[in-house]
Amino acid sequence: MQRAIFHRLALAVSVVLLPSIALGAWQPSEIVGMKYPRLARLARITGLVIVRASLADDGTVREVAVVSGHPLLAKAAQANAREWRFAWSQKVSRSSRSPEVHLVYYFALSGRCVERDCRELFWVELPNFIVVRSELPEISTGQAEKGLGR
């Protein structure tokens, strides 16, 4: 049920944002993987992050601005987006070049694991939809007490 809602939501976001990357005709040429941000995972924070990357002429990322999303997730997404590279599609005239692309990150937690031994999955549905999924760590008594400042 939750997965179905996520897919609808994610597709809706992609449909809204995809033209901005497709019309610009920048395509990712180098994609870098990322891990679920540890703090966000411990705090069980999930959700969508949208970032806007400003590109240099050679397709390197100059700057990444957060459009929306939780700050803990957005920081990680921002750092990841900075490592990507883009190439201009040869089929589109250079005069219509836009200097920006949007990337949509979805962070999800599912299943259970022991912290430091959580399985993660990273995948990209081109051109701009990124999923980072991790198992959810069990909170031990020690961690809970630390969190409460005891």
Binding site: Q27, V32, A87, K91, W123
Partner: protein, 134 residues
């Protein structure tokens, strides 16, 4: 499916992700295989996948490289998705580069990088031999 629709509608089927008559659509990350890392196995593995007429991956197999690393590479390649960029069945090839860096303070996570259209770099770090850890 909607991605494909937009790309076709806008006439922007990417040339950059294209491998022969196929365009990569879904890229799945890969961690350095723990066994290979503990044995210090590294190197390049070429994997070829056969694609059926409906763009489904029928099978992937090792073309060259270490058989141990190839197991992880093949398992990963089977999870990728491609789409038809031109007519016909065919194959696409992915080249995995497994690299181990020796550093004083290794991070526990390996790094995944995909360079269009076929190169995948999986980099892990380990401490120098005889290093007693942090």
């Amino acid at each position: 499916m909607i991605h494909l629709f937009w790309l076709m509608f806008l006439g922007v089927v990417p040339a950059d992700g294209q491998v022969g008559p196929w365009a990569v659509r879904k890229i799945v990350g890969l961690d350095y295989p723990p066994d290979a890392l503990s044995k210090g196995l590294e190197g390049t593995v070429r994997v070829r996948c056969d694609i059926g007429h409906n763009a489904r991956i029928i099978s992937c197999y090792r073309v060259s490289g270490d058989p141990g690393l190839a197991v992880a590479a093949i398992r990963n390649a089977r999870r990728w998705q491609v789409e038809r960029a031109a007519s016909g069945e065919g194959t696409y090839e992915l080249i995995y580069h497994f690299q181990i860096r020796v550093v004083e303070r290794p991070t526990e996570e390996s790094k995944f990088r995909f360079v269009m259209p076929t190169h995948i770099f999986v980099v892990a770090e380990r401490p120098p031999m005889g290093h007693k850890g942090r």
